[in-house]
Symmetry: D2
Subunit: 162 residues, 4 copies
């Protein structure tokens, strides 16, 4: 098994700058790198950094870039880390890609946090990517669902079955 991980940014990758006047979080290197180091994976992988954006800032052009990367990959098992606010929009864009299993995941709390959900979410995507049929899925809160079956509870922030 080989998995291609694609970084687009979002909460999962938010880090804290080491300088002065550091007010905000910043999107840094792919959290997936640190997660895979802990896992010691028995599968092959590559990590591609496509974007480093909060998902509210992802433009149509950015989505086209993600689309093009997925489309051109030879590998058919893809996990995309993404901000939670526009996961479904990106999933819809990618839904025209045929012959690949694409899972979009992310985190409610940055992977840098000791109580982050990131390792569990990325784990869920890894565990599912080999078992699922081709298509585009969202993996959050322990559910891995086809993108068009997912809706978001805007009070709790949870991704649930439509």
């Amino acid at each position: 098994m080989k998995i291609t991980f694609i970084q687009t940014g979002g909460t999962i990758d938010k880090d804290y700058p080491r300088t002065t006047k550091g007010y905000a979080f910043e999107i840094s290197e792919p959290a997936v790198k640190r997660i895979l180091k802990k896992l010691n994976p028995a599968f092959d992988f590559e990590i591609i950094s496509a974007l480093k954006k909060d998902s509210l800032e992802i433009t149509n052009q950015d989505r086209q870039k993600i689309y093009d990367i997925c489309e051109e990959l030879e590998n058919d098992k893809i996990i995309i880390t993404h901000g939670t606010d526009t996961m479904i929009e990106t999933a819809e864009k990618l839904s025209r890609i045929k012959g690949k299993t694409i899972i979009i995941t992310g985190a409610m709390r940055p992977e840098r946090f000791s109580d982050s959900d990131a390792p569990i979410n990325v784990g869920a995507a890894i565990g599912a990517v080999n078992a699922l049929d081709k298509g585009v899925y969202i993996a959050m809160h322990g559910l891995v669902l086809r993108w068009n079956r997912v809706t978001r509870n805007m009070t709790t922030g949870q991704f649930i079955l439509k």
Copy 2:
């Protein structure tokens, strides 16, 4: 989706006693509890503590106990946390159970460790349990494989495809 988690012990649950002369690690409350708290799951679950043993100490009688619990459950999605040394033996015992998806997982480093693989492994099991056919699987190092397809590399400790 409802998942039944069964604790049997093993490295994943090893903790460190707070008393004096505390030389060894001890198997404590299910690590799954802490992992699910971080995940904020969008599925129902229950946690059953069957055993608190290092897997080298699991007897035939213990395995029968795990078998009986799985057999009697109404729920058909089961994740068992287990020591790595005899995962395959327990999987073989459970392989006679029909109509259920059972995934055995665990960790190379205790969940209490900040660099543990436990959240990723449990995540992989959660992500796969809904997607897989009925049967008994082992989820370690990012692979979720049918128990009779798995062997262990005794140098690296990794569970790999036979």
Copy 3:
């Protein structure tokens, strides 16, 4: 020994909201609470929340509030957690208080981060507060220095001897 901890905000207390459209951090409950839970302290303590502000936003009025709290305390061992950008300004303000040992500390990375310096900095303040003469000190990067001996290297962000 009794220590009074005073929260004013800053990086040390930055947390990440669990809602949607959560772009930024938030100053949450005192990180000192979580640090002391890990320590299991053999001294008495109290925690007072004075402010929940990034230190660039602390006004003269806010500093007066911190001053008044310190002045009115019966206890003479005080540790203040504070954003790093204006630690020295607050220290100067407090320097007119007599008969108390006041240590200002904080963190370069939020206590929520698994690689935070917060527990070490707060530990340094705790370890020093009993040993130091009365006065106002800054404890960062392992140094605990009188406030008027400290300057900040604006490239590295380190607090060093003037």
Copy 4:
């Protein structure tokens, strides 16, 4: 300021082997190394590994070795990490050394644990070492006390004022 850290072993340095049949912990590389990496210290330091033993296994010969290292050091600020069970015995042995500030510290839970007290204890020793008079001290649970003023509550494991 320069601090010499001396590793002797104990809970603070307990790690978990990555091999099969790994039942027990192992004393591994100095936890102080990882703690100082998080701190980004503004002081000079060196780390000496003297022993890698649980403190119940430290012999008179081992204590002599620790004594000799401390005695021969030019530096007069020394922090020793040590198992909790025989900290006081080692402190007594070192009490004949003149002209140096020696602080013995350790942890109730391994530094590898996400809820360890190790970073706070080492922080307390760092914060105190510059402020204290010459002599031998024990730093645990937030107290930094002269070794002959310390006793241990064998129920709670806490080091307290005699």
